[in-house]
């Protein structure tokens, strides 16, 4: 049983990580959901029977460990709340940009281009190729979609 759960957790982590590498927000959110499920499954497997701090009749060896279940419940509630917030943010982002894609950071891009565009080049031909190189660089980093 444990080995099945371990495989399930591994699969969830693997698929989640793949989705996180995408540039579409909706996929990233689904990936996050899967990874946190993986964490919860792992949490469920961590309990050992027989050490339950329960008061009652019967052999403690028959009881499952309630602590990981309580912890998994708590994390499920927390992830639920944060995922809802994330979805709201993604919706807001879509409202603003009409696009589901993660944008490049504007200040980073200006530094990338500034380093290349702002250089003192006396030779006009070199200057032009450098400007084109810089533009191509910006386009290529901005255009890395879907993978």
């Amino acid at each position: 049983m444990s080995i099945l759960l371990a495989f399930a957790a591994a699969a969830l982590f693997g698929i989640g990580t793949y989705l996180l590498m995408q540039r579409k927000l909706s996929r990233i959110i689904i990936g996050l959901g899967l990874i946190s499920h993986g964490g919860n499954v792992l949490l469920m497997t961590s309990g050992r029977g027989g050490i339950a701090p329960l008061i009652g009749s019967g052999d403690p060896g028959d009881f499952a460990d309630p602590l990981p279940q309580a912890m998994a419940l708590t994390t499920i509630v927390i992830t639920f709340g944060v995922t809802a917030l994330l979805l709201a943010l993604a919706y807001r982002s879509w409202q603003l940009t009409r696009d589901d894609e993660v944008e490049n950071d504007a200040a980073d891009m200006s530094i990338v281009s500034g380093g290349l565009l702002g250089r003192d080049v006396t030779d006009e031909v070199t200057a032009e190729t450098e400007v084109e190189d810089a533009k191509a660089l910006i386009d290529s980093t901005a255009g890395e979609v879907d993978g």
Binding site: L20, L25, I28, L32, I35, S36, G38, G39, N40, L42, L43, T45, S46, G47, R48, I51, P53, L67, P68, M71, T74, T75, I78, T79, G81, V82, L85, L86, L89, A90, R92, S93, L96, T97, V102, E103, D105, A106, A107, D108, S110, I111, G114
Partner: protein, 496 residues
């Protein structure tokens, strides 16, 4: 004394609830917010004094004994962090009330801010890893909302990065917790410290590295820092100030706590941490020098300075950890002040981009002075408060024969000065090359709105006081470090 232990969490939480109910009466909301945080400051100081004189103060919530119930512990380290955090939170709230922007435009600001305050305090006082996770989430969830207040395009983009990376770190934390629980059968930190000794050294080391990654993301350690300079600058400046000052330090606190308490000397990744600390310093400061925006330069500076704290911790000697603790305290104060001044620069100068600012030493001399003092403090110019922990770090590094990291830290210190002088020359001395984005605000006799200037001045005074009281404060840091390197103190207090 132990009755007070839960108050730094309870008071802000109750106040947050009240301020939601009083959303219509802005004045009442403000009184509640400032009042709650003032109480928090008082309680935290009392707790620090109590923990310093009587040893760790422990509360078993619900009367359940330690490994089963939730334990709250205030030892010297927690006391120091609580006190500094409470003072910072109070100062920044007053600043936020004075600044036209976030606090005035959003009914929920005070409540969110108080929930975050409760989360920060909770992170410092909890005695088990799972409750630490819950405290982190409380703090982070409030911070997600604070970061994206207003919902502008840049904020949503940056907030997204921040939320996603924090969620990944949280999931990793849960994973680490699950594995730790499977291996030892407990999540109580004192109990773990005892039981982790039964594991093979390799497994212990793996846990140490896993927790290093989890808290490294929160602290902004290389190579996990990239989200920080992107997300912090877009928030309203009081929010950025408190994030920059406090939230990364909560990560550093968790690193110090877990690495010293849980892991015996043979399973601490000391060399790895030193390498990461050196890289964090260098990459952070190079990033800062490349930027053109006041807030972004300061954000990269945070990353660089996290390296110093981790360096002190990674030496794992009393001198090193004492220096790291002193550094955390100094850095919280200095960094928050710098961001508050950054907000003033934006308010008075009409932009936070250096190319659009200029000649402010004439147009806003008060702001110039308010920037220069914390900037020199941060760079570690003697006799200001940044000099003391840096000197202590260098000495501790020499004691442990870690010469490379000492060299790197000194070089980065110089570069820090360079990055801050870039702001000074760009905003205060040189002319502006572009037009500001919006009309600069009128500068009054005080040099800006009184409620913005006053907290900034108060924080500078605290920073100067740290330098003047360096002797007793450093002695306190050394006592704290001695406690941390002897986990038996903590274990006895919690497990009885």
């Amino acid at each position: 004394m132990t009755n007070l232990v839960a108050l730094p969490v309870l008071v802000p939480l109750i106040a947050a609830g009240l301020s939601v109910m009083l959303g219509r009466w802005r004045t009442a909301q403000r009184i509640i917010g400032v009042g709650a945080l003032t109480i928090s400051v008082g309680v935290s100081i009392a707790l620090l004094v109590g923990a310093d004189s009587d040893g760790p103060l422990v509360v078993q919530v619900g009367g359940r004994p330690a490994p089963i119930g939730i334990t709250l512990v205030v030892d010297r380290l927690a006391g120091i962090m609580l006190t500094v955090a409470a003072i910072m939170l109070l100062a920044v709230l007053v600043y936020a009330i004075g600044q036209p922007g976030a606090e005035r435009n959003h009914v929920g600001f005070t409540s969110l801010y108080l929930i975050m305050a409760a989360g920060v305090s909770a992170s410092f006082i909890v005695g088990d890893l799972f409750t630490l996770f819950v405290a982190f989430e409380m703090m982070l969830t409030a911070s997600y909302a604070l970061l994206t207040l207003g919902g502008g395009r840049a904020q949503v983009r940056a907030g997204m990065t921040y939320v996603v990376i924090s969620l990944i770190a949280s999931t990793l934390f849960i994973t680490a917790l699950a594995l730790l629980y499977a291996a030892t059968g407990t999540v109580n930190m004192a109990d773990l410290a005892v039981k982790i000794g039964e594991l093979p050294p390799g497994v212990r080391m793996a846990f140490a590295v896993l927790l290093l990654v989890v808290f490294g993301v929160k602290a902004g350690l290389f190579p996990l820092f990239f989200w920080l300079p992107d997300s912090y600058p877009t928030a309203p400046s009081p929010v950025t100030a408190v994030f920059a000052g406090l939230l990364t330090k909560v990560g550093v606190y968790a690193l110090i706590r877990t690495q010293t308490l849980l892991f015996p000397p043979d399973s601490r990744p000391a060399t790895l941490m030193l390498v990461l600390a050196g890289l964090t310093m260098v990459i952070g400061i190079l990033g800062a020098i490349a930027q053109d925006d006041v807030k972004r330069i300061l954000s990269f500076n945070i990353v660089s300075h996290i390296g110093y704290m981790v360096m002190g911790l990674a030496l794992f000697s009393v001198a090193g950890i004492a220096a790291a603790i002193f550094y955390v305290v100094h850095h919280i104060v200095a960094k928050t002040t710098l961001f508050l001044t950054g907000g003033l620069i934006e308010h008075v100068g009409g932009s936070s981009r250096l190319s659009r600012l200029g000649n402010m030493v004439k147009s806003a001399p008060v702001v110039a002075a308010l920037f220069l003092i914390p900037a020199l403090t941060l760079a570690g110019v003697p006799p200001l408060s940044g000099f003391i922990p840096k000197l202590a770090l260098v000495e501790a590094g020499f004691d442990e024969r870690r010469y490379v990291i000492v060299g790197v830290s000194l070089l980065v210190s110089l570069l820090t000065l360079l990055s801050l002088m870039k702001i000074w020359i760009g905003a205060f001395w040189g002319p502006a090359t572009e037009e500001p984005e919006h009309e600069p605000h009128e500068v009054g006799r005080a040099g800006g709105p009184l409620l913005m200037i006053a907290p900034t001045v108060a924080l500078i005074a605290i920073s100067l006081a740290i330098a003047f009281a360096a002797g007793p404060l450093y002695a306190l840091a050394e006592r704290t470090a001695t406690d941390l390197l002897d986990p038996a103190v903590y274990e006895r207090a919690v497990l009885g």
